[in-house]
Symmetry: C2
Subunit: 469 residues, 2 copies
């Protein structure tokens, strides 16, 4: 790669490994490109064989570098690839997760390079999956390869789990984890599917919000009726729905559902200090969204509101006439999709029950109201002083020469909670992608300096874990 990045060259802290990585760079890049060339789009049935090819490529690499018990599990969907290396007696055991499937490439006309012909330019590599999440697959494989090639061993015990359905809701992962609970014994789960903070600052993700997603259906007259003939005598389902939604949150943004906040883990002083340490320009953020003002729950900063506190948002609303001009009807029904982003220790099923009860309690008498559960995901939270997370932050800082930040994601990755609840493991969520890498969009790219630093910091992290957390 000719265009060197501005960042100081990363080091794994082990000269032999650094030398191995420097000398093998072109070969490793070529090997990773082979994976990037496989169009493993999990959402599209016509790419099912490509997903299997990607799984087989990963399995072949695992065997080549010296991992053991390499196994391709049929799940009913796309396969899960497992491998381990368990000879680091007395050292901790980590189960490391990444996914080899990718998003569809539409609109393909907006790509400057064909999405499955990876191309290097300006210190970046462009390809679908280059960041999300084949960067993690490549980094995990190459870190293990470097260690096994130079030392003949790993510093800790490692189990790899590579999934092929992350972009389509990980349908078969949780059953597979449950079925393999016995052989997945470990001390920590490393979920490799996040990235760096804004400005490409090394980051450890210590929390993900959960989600509760519901639909509210309000029904009035048996069909749309004339607003002149009936207006004034019957409840209007759209007015009723508006009143219900207005009754879910106060004007400041605090959720009014009784019990909603009961199980929320409050932000600690350390949490709030971590938020405050993040580089963030409120005005730039507001301007980028083109909103007149940022608003949210009183007593919290914008960043805290975006990931450290629960929310309630209408995701969609509809009913009656939506065309040009005017049509004088009272809608027969009105509907809304409503979801809450949840934080630890809120339970999505309990929150749904609370929402449903509250909606039915405040619904006006002239309509019938139904509240339906459209899916949920549990929040996850690793305490900010968790030693597994701290150790990764230390490795990041030493490798990249820049102190890592602790962040929570506002979004949800529902399967992550399964590692906590099914396997009983603390979870560290990590990744090396720049935040502007066009995930799920045309011209997805990965910063090659981040990739190389990722391999080195993974080596350093595992070395660090071997000397105790």
């Amino acid at each position: 790669v000719s265009d060197a990045p501005a960042r100081p060259a990363a080091s794994s802290g082990d000269h032999a490994i650094d030398r191995f990585l420097d000398e093998s760079r072109d070969r490793r890049l070529e090997s990773w490109k082979e994976l990037l060339r496989i169009p493993s789009v999990s959402a599209l049935p016509e790419h099912a064989a490509d997903c299997r090819r990607a799984a087989e490529h990963v399995a072949a690499t695992l065997r080549r570098i010296g991992m053991e018990h390499v196994d391709i599990s049929d799940t009913g969907g796309h396969p899960i690839v497992y491998a381990d290396w368990l000879h680091a007696e007395g050292a901790p055991t980590a189960v490391a997760y990444a996914h080899y499937d990718v998003q569809p490439v539409d609109p393909v006309a907006e790509w400057h390079h064909p999405p499955f012909e990876p191309e290097v330019a300006d210190g970046r590599i462009y390809a679908r999956g280059a960041s999300d999440d084949k960067s993690s697959v490549g980094i995990l494989l190459q870190a293990a390869e470097a260690l096994l090639a130079t030392r003949g061993s790993l510093p800790i015990n490692l189990r790899f789990v590579f999934e092929g359905e992350e972009e389509t809701t990980s349908e078969h992962l949780e059953p597979w984890l449950a079925a393999n609970r016995e052989r997945l014994g470990a001390d920590v789960a490393l979920i490799c599917d996040s990235g760096f903070f804004a400005g490409n600052v090394p980051a450890v993700t210590v929390g993900l919000r959960g989600i509760m997603y519901a639909q509210i259906d309000v029904r009035g007259p048996f069909q749309d009726v004339h607003s002149g003939s009936y207006g004034g005598a019957i409840e209007n389902p759209a007015n009723a729905l508006a009143r219900i939604i207005a009754g879910l949150k106060d004007p400041d943004g605090r959720v009014l559902i009784p019990g909603f906040y009961d199980d929320v883990v409050p932000l600690s002083d350390a949490d709030r200090a971590a938020y405050a340490a993040l580089p963030f320009d409120e005005d730039e953020f507001r301007g980028s969204l083109e909103v007149p003002a940022l608003v949210g729950e009183p007593g919290y900063t914008v960043l805290e509101r975006r990931s450290g506190r629960p929310t309630l948002d209408v995701n969609g609303i509809w009913g009656g006439f939506q065309g040009e001009g005017s049509k004088t009807i009272i809608p027969g029904s009105a509907h809304a999709k409503v979801s809450s982003r949840l934080v630890a220790d809120q339970d999505p099923e309990r929150i749904f029950d609370l929402l449903r009860d509250h909606v039915l309690r405040i619904a006006p008498p002239g309509v019938t109201v139904e509240v339906r559960d459209l899916g949920s995901g549990r929040p996850t939270l690793t305490p900010i002083d968790d030693p597994w997370a701290r150790a990764f932050a230390t490795a990041l800082g030493e490798t990249f020469g820049q102190e890592a930040v602790f962040v929570r994601e506002g979004g949800s990755i529902p399967f992550v909670a399964a590692f906590e609840t099914l396997l009983g493991l603390p979870v560290v969520i990590l990744g090396f992608t720049p935040p502007d890498g066009n995930f799920h969009a045309p011209n997805e790219w990965m910063d090659l300096a981040n990739f190389e630093g990722g391999v080195r910091s993974m080596v350093r992290y595992w070395d660090g874990l071997a000397s105790g957390v």
Copy 2:
């Protein structure tokens, strides 16, 4: 007509006229059928020539029966037919309105008879326009014909205005009225485009609600954004819209816009007695709409709420994701169509201003809000003790042998107010169609007994006006 109606035979109160009408019945029916056969669908450009044919048919009939100054005015749309007879010295002058255009016939497959091949069965005549509003055209023409044929004169001075664009918002009527204000001098306007009350009870319509129709546009982020990444930090336009709509009406249905009720003419004791006298079964009404309860402004009956009091209804609402399942976005914008049915003396333009000001006042700070006027119509109200209306009720009662009721319509006929405001006339809104005559629907029909009674009660009404109101 073989199947006689249950109602007692109507009489005009003038034996010679009754005899003329009895003897000419078949000929009159055939003449009216000629008008019904003309597919004068004003909404469809391919029927423009048919609309002109209908106007010419009406004009020819006016000339044949002895009306004067018969004139077909080109309006830029479909023509307006004018005629008068002004030789009743000392008697009042009425301007009588009806429209010769009709609604489209779709879905035509649901008609049992071709819509423009009028067919008599069971005392009814089936055809598009048979009730709305060619029944009024036929009744006015035949009443004048009977009087001129038997007496050689009319008891009052009459001006006829037959319009061809009522079903397409009467675009050119108001300019034509304004341009012809001088030659339209009169004492009362008879708007012949309503009908009988439920159960086919003779009725005088003394009020129409007006309308104010607006759109509220709430804009947040420049596009739909991820509810995980942004939820909690920005105002959600759909939540904001719900809060705005909830702020327009209290839970009981009373409008919260300051000043909204300022100009409402309160219901008098006589008004309320007239409402109370109407045959109406609340439970049947509720059941027919399939709503769990009837709700509305406290202190008023269901019928009063439906036409005697103003309303505020959402006619449509939309924003964000409306598909199956879940999509985790904060909508970039949310929208609602909101309209108020107005009663005298509310001014639609003032009400729009009050709505807009109130919406902007209660709009939350994190969004931009726009309120747009999508059209309006003024309410009309003839006092229930108005002599012109009372005289028509008397004529109806005497002709049909059944006491007439005074009703207000909940809907709006915007052009009616122009007769009040442009010509400065009291307005009586009348018609003879049964309330279940399938106006605007397949298998429109007119009760022939109502039609014949209509001709006779019109004669009796004009005779009554000649002896003073």
